[in-house]
């Protein structure tokens, strides 16, 4: 900067530095590493809470499996066999040491290792999230863009009304209605079952994803719509128009990309929420996902399974938000990764 900065020494020092080279760049990988560390700590605490909660809830796996009337010595034997005869602190220690060996324990009911359950059921849930997000984006981006740019009188009002309705609908209700309509009346979607191979699974996933869209599209397109309106007010759009940028570049670089960051961050957060809400969809659509396993495990007080699944959910949620932040900062350099 050639100007002599006015103001306090600190301010001018900052200005001088920014003027010459910009804020000193912190390597991105370093930030990612720091965020990863934080994510792991959060996931750990999620696991601890899950460990405590499931034990604090009334009942235990033995009474759940054998019933309330089982003979006391049968119960005691079963508890010993399941490693539940020691105090919770020791149980936690045993679980933790197992965790570091990559051993999440085995189901108290079926004896199947938790890692094995995750391997078979987790992909279904991940696929469901993935297809839901893809569909949401494919619908939301053009929709928000069109409504913000088209300048059709009354359209924004209609948009706000419809999205408000979409937001207010409980997703299980939407699921039942869509399942009834598409699955039973029109018979264009299978009402249950799953095929784990790639293109074939989409046939089972599109309808539950559509249910997610009914909730996600209103939120996302509204946030994006208002960011686009804000962006359109900004002067650089004017500058772009005067510069004569071609329309495809203009829409992407001058309108959509500067507006995307809040939407991306929100989406990653919503994806985290979705990890939990897929449980309902998996039950309604009879998808063999991990959420359904979680529900069964909770009713059976299957401690290792509950802990294992919640731990993975926790990791998933924190990493999704990390990925969201990284993507947002890549799309829009104003967004700083913290």
């Amino acid at each position: 900067m050639t100007a002599t900065p006015i103001g306090s020494g600190v301010e001018s020092a900052v200005r001088a530095q920014e003027g010459e080279d910009g804020p000193r760049p912190q390597p991105t990988w370093e930030k990612v590493l720091r965020r990863t560390g934080r994510a792991i700590i959060v996931a750990f605490w999620v696991m601890v809470v899950a460990f405590m909660l499931i034990r604090l809830s009334p009942g235990d796996p033995v009474s759940a499996a054998l019933g309330a009337d089982a003979a006391p010595d049968t119960v005691a034997a079963a508890r010993k066999a399941l490693g539940l005869d020691v105090d919770p602190l020791t149980q936690f220690w045993n679980y933790l040491t197992g965790l570091f060996r990559g051993d999440l324990g085995a189901s108290l009911i079926s004896g199947v290792p938790v890692t094995e359950m995750l391997r078979t059921n987790m992909p279904v849930t991940l696929w469901l999230i993935f297809t839901s997000v893809t569909m949401t984006l494919v619908i939301s981006l053009p929709l928000a863009m069109f409504i913000a740019m088209a300048r059709i009188p009354g359209l924004p009002y209609l948009f706000r009304t419809l999205t408000a309705i979409g937001l207010a609908l409980p997703s299980f209700l939407v699921a039942l209605i869509l399942l009834y309509q598409f699955g039973l009346i029109w018979q264009v979607a299978p009402i249950f079952g799953y095929d784990p191979t790639f293109p074939a699974n989409l046939q089972y996933l599109w309808l539950p994803s559509l249910v997610n869209c009914v909730v996600l599209v209103p939120v996302l397109s509204r946030v994006l719509y208002s960011s686009i309106l804000d962006t359109l007010e900004e002067e650089f759009v004017e500058t772009g128009v005067v510069r004569g940028v071609r329309w495809n570049r203009f829409y992407w670089l001058y309108v959509l990309r500067p507006s995307l960051a809040p939407t991306v961050v929100l989406l990653s957060y919503m994806m985290g929420v979705m990890v939990g809400s897929t449980v309902i969809l998996e039950i309604i659509f009879a998808l063999p996902g991990i959420g359904r396993e979680l529900v069964t495990a909770v009713t059976m007080r299957d401690y290792p399974v509950v802990q294992g699944i919640i731990l993975v959910f926790g990791i998933l949620v924190v990493f999704l938000s990390l990925i969201g932040d990284i993507v947002a900062s890549l799309l829009d350099p104003r967004v700083r990764l913290t």
């Binding site: 100007a3 900065p5 103001g7 920014e18 804020p23 002067e235 500058t239 005067v242």
Partner: protein, 340 residues
């Protein structure tokens, strides 16, 4: 109409704005007029100042010159903007493409939001260069470097790869000026280009605009609130009040003998830094709101010299009171001697 005399005056007129009416069509019948009768010329290689209170329509006039009124749902209802045989007031969007950027450049108001935040400086400038001619990537880069040096950016090779938010306000505005002159336009429209910059940086930006005028022979239309700044940089001055041009003339003539009470009031309301403790004089009353303009002269209810005929009839038009010095005051002749 007397304003027609303006054009015959000098052959170096580049843009001729006549009876320009800009507004917003709210419903089929309801029009909100924002600018009513803008009348002035832009001459070749001059810096023309455009001053007036907030809301007087300066930005609207600028937008009519770069064809971005539509985006703000405003449009030109009447009048002409003659430029190089074209009438910009009637240009179709398709025709604008060959005018914007290449014939008329634009420096945005705010250095902060004027640059695209998601593109590096090099990309933004390169985009404007690449637009017209197919050029090799290396040539584009060289030209961008040239431009950055032209606007006195030190270490252009570093700035080339930086994002706008990494630059200081002054630097950013230099980049925006570089972007405006990329395609060698005839006119650069600068709408309050120094908003939010500190005084020293402001002065440098002004110096830069002056250089551009003299070295590249471009006309600059400079919008500002700051009369001191205008005095220093501009050749001629257009004073706007409530959507009309009330006085047009050379900076020296307007400073010496202002011919409109509004200009006199503006002059008086300048902060006098040479006499510390001098009372701050403001113009009495508020500028009339858009759509609530009084009958007759729009300055009449704030004017110290108001006469009976000022408050009736139509809004007075610009009259050449002295050679090359126009005023819209009905009693301009009498004001002639009343400057401080």
């Amino acid at each position: 109409m007397s304003v027609n005399a303006m054009a015959s005056e000098s052959s170096d007129v580049l843009v001729e704005i006549r009876d320009l009416v800009i507004g917003i069509q709210r419903t089929r019948k309801d029009r909100l007029l924002i600018v009513e009768s803008a009348n002035f010329d832009i001459r070749r290689a001059e810096i023309l100042g455009l001053v007036g209170e907030s809301g007087s329509g300066k930005t609207m006039v600028c937008r009519s010159l770069i064809g971005t009124l539509k985006r703000r749902s405003a449009s030109i209802f009447a009048g002409t903007i003659k430029f190089d045989g074209m009438d910009l007031a009637k240009l179709e969007e398709r025709q604008w493409r060959s005018v914007r950027g290449s014939r008329i450049g634009y420096v945005p108001q705010s250095a902060l939001t004027g640059a695209n935040p998601v593109m590096t400086v090099g990309k933004q400038l390169g985009e404007a260069i690449r637009r017209n001619r197919k050029r090799k990537e290396k040539d584009v880069r060289r030209r961008v470097m040239e431009l950055l040096e032209l606007v006195h950016i030190r270490r252009p090779e570093v700035v080339y790869d930086q994002y706008p938010h990494q630059l200081s306000g002054g630097m950013r505005q230099r980049v925006m000026i570089a972007a405006a002159i990329t395609q060698d336009p005839d006119i650069v429209v600068a709408d309050e280009p120094t908003t939010g910059l500190d005084v020293t940086v402001q002065a440098e930006i002004m110096k830069l605009l002056k250089e551009i005028r003299s070295e590249l022979k471009m006309s600059v239309i400079l919008v500002s609130h700051d009369l001191a700044l205008i005095d220093e940089v501009c050749d001629r001055l257009v004073v706007m009040h409530a959507g009309t041009c009330v006085e047009v003339g050379s900076v020296s003539a307007v400073a010496r003998t202002p011919l409109h009470p509004y200009t006199i009031a503006l002059n008086r309301s300048r902060i006098d830094i040479s006499t510390p403790g001098a009372p701050l004089i403001t113009i009495k009353g508020n500028p009339p709101a858009v759509g609530e303009w009084p009958a007759g002269c729009r300055f009449s209810d704030r004017c110290d010299f108001v006469q009976q005929d000022c408050t009736v009839g139509r809004n007075p038009v610009l009259v050449e009171v002295r050679p090359n010095h126009w005023s819209a005051c009905l009693h301009a002749e009498r004001l002639g001697g009343t400057s401080e």
